[in-house]
């Protein structure tokens, strides 16, 4: 059955190519740092299951040491705007069709593999379809545009270098969440929150729940980590059992209050920091600032929704 192992091999080979091309990039003064960084990530993807927990931990420390001491750089080069404009005129709107191959394959795979049981692991069908889409688009692109065979990897490496260390920040934060869980950080936060609920005020309890969801999500970078803590501390004992609130309304909208927190924190790196790197923004928190104006009113609306609909 095709599943995550296949995707990890593909990702490992991609990072390995980035590492080799980085080492050979004479325009990058820090090419050794880049090469080592992507090579370690390739090792993690290809052989992570064989390194052992402590081995993987050392691998992470090595990645952090390279990035934290400023050993990642960027090379120059690439196509000029004039060349790209000329090529854009030559290829026209068919470029969009090729760009849509990845989403179209992800779409077709998500629905299609349901009808071919046993071929793809159903829990991992989305990631497998995304990987197949990337491969398919690459094959079509090579056949149609006829670039130098190494060109896609070279261009990919250039984009990867512009993302830099931010590429592994989401994975690092997810791992930190696991350490927090192991240490029992959530229980302490839950106790703290349940002690600040104003006695006898239903609306106060609703505010404590939605605000707590948003704040703890901002700390953890992930509403999934905040929900069990806040629901066990406030939603179930107070809103549902004491005041008789509808559990479906309280939980569903409470989770969305947490999502408002996700919009306002650099800890949600894959949504907020990675796009700032991908779009080459000067302020790495620019996306967070752009989202605060939507997140705060929406948090207030979610609080009112629970108050109106749950009781």
């Amino acid at each position: 059955m095709i599943g995550l192992p296949f995707v990890y091999i593909l990702a490992g080979l991609t990072f390995l190519a980035f590492a080799v091309l980085s080492l050979r990039d004479g325009t990058n003064p820090k090419r050794w740092g880049n090469g080592a960084f992507w090579a370690l990530l390739a090792l993690s993807m290809l052989a992570g299951d064989r390194l052992g927990d402590f081995g993987n931990g050392l691998l992470v420390l090595a990645l952090v040491a390279i990035a934290g001491t400023g050993q990642l750089g960027r090379g120059s080069g690439g196509t000029t705007p004039e060349v790209r404009a000329a090529r854009a005129a030559q290829h026209g709107n068919r470029l969009f069709l090729l760009a849509l191959v990845i989403p179209a394959t992800a779409l077709a795979g998500t629905f299609g593999f349901e009808h071919l049981p046993g071929l793809v692991n159903p829990k991992q069908v989305t990631l497998v379809s995304l990987a197949l889409g990337a491969l398919l688009a690459l094959v079509i692109g090579l056949a149609w545009l006829r670039p130098h065979p190494a060109a896609p990897l070279q261009e990919g490496r250039r984009l990867m270098d512009s993302v830099g260390w931010a590429a592994i920040l989401p994975q690092m934060l997810a791992s930190l969440g696991a350490v927090f869980a192991l240490a029992g950080v959530g229980d302490v936060v839950g106790q703290l929150m349940s002690s600040v609920i104003p006695e006898g005020s239903r609306f106060g309890a609703v505010i404590a729940f939605t605000l707590g969801m948003a704040l703890f999500t901002m700390v953890m970078g992930n509403a999934f980590a905040a929900f069990p803590v806040m629901a066990a501390a406030i939603a179930v004992p107070v809103l549902i059992r004491q005041y008789g609130g509808d559990p479906a309304v309280v939980c569903a909208i409470g989770m969305l209050a947490g999502f408002c927190g996700t919009l306002m924190t650099p800890m949600a790196a894959n949504f907020n920091i990675v796009p700032a790197a991908l779009l080459e923004l000067k302020d790495r928190n620019a996306v967070v600032w752009a989202q605060v104006g939507t997140a705060l009113p929406l948090l207030a609306v979610n609080t009112l929704f629970i108050w109106w609909f749950a009781f």
Binding site: A11, L279, T294
Partner: protein, 225 residues
Amino acid sequence: MSEMWLLSGIAVMVLGFVLRFNPLLVVVAAAAVTGLSAGLDLQAIVSAFGKAFNDTRYVSVVWIVLPVIGLLEAHGLQERARGLIAGLKGATTGRLLTGYLLIRQLSSALGLTSVAGHAQTVRPLVAPMAEAAAEGQTNLTDDEREHVKAMSAATDNVGLFFGEDIFIAIGSILLMVGFLEQQGIILSPFQLSVWAIPTAFAAFLIHGFRLWRLDRRLGQKEAGQ
């Protein structure tokens, strides 16, 4: 009171981000401080972090789309996206992003969350289109250009977050069903997911209103010149 020391990792995170240290260093420091205050030794902390890092590799898989995106960009995808929008009469940043918000919310509500995203659609298509539309509205300053790009990424996030929970088989819905079951409350995913609909409408109205105001700001500047 000694339990409060467990929160020291959170303090490290906040302080590290405020002081703008490299976030990777901050994360490792927070993990170390939290682990130590929970009574773990250093080797146990390194192992726990390593195991979690290995278990969450799927988070970093998205980068495999970069070679295709890079190839397309080298052949003028962004330029073509700009050209298409520049040729459309009445295309404004706000209208364009509002349309994208709607598509992203609807497709996420159908469970198609990976169809779009920052690497797949925002960088190669949405941001250059929004930029081109803004260039048609005014002489963009550097700050305005940054803001238009940041709003493109923000619009993708808002559309994803406040669409996906309408789909019954999404992770957060399944998490809630499992959690409530442990608490002795039995709900079906559908009972939870319908309650994501009011917030989805509210998110569209609030973010749409902000995009409309962005248009007014970009458009007004031209009239003032």
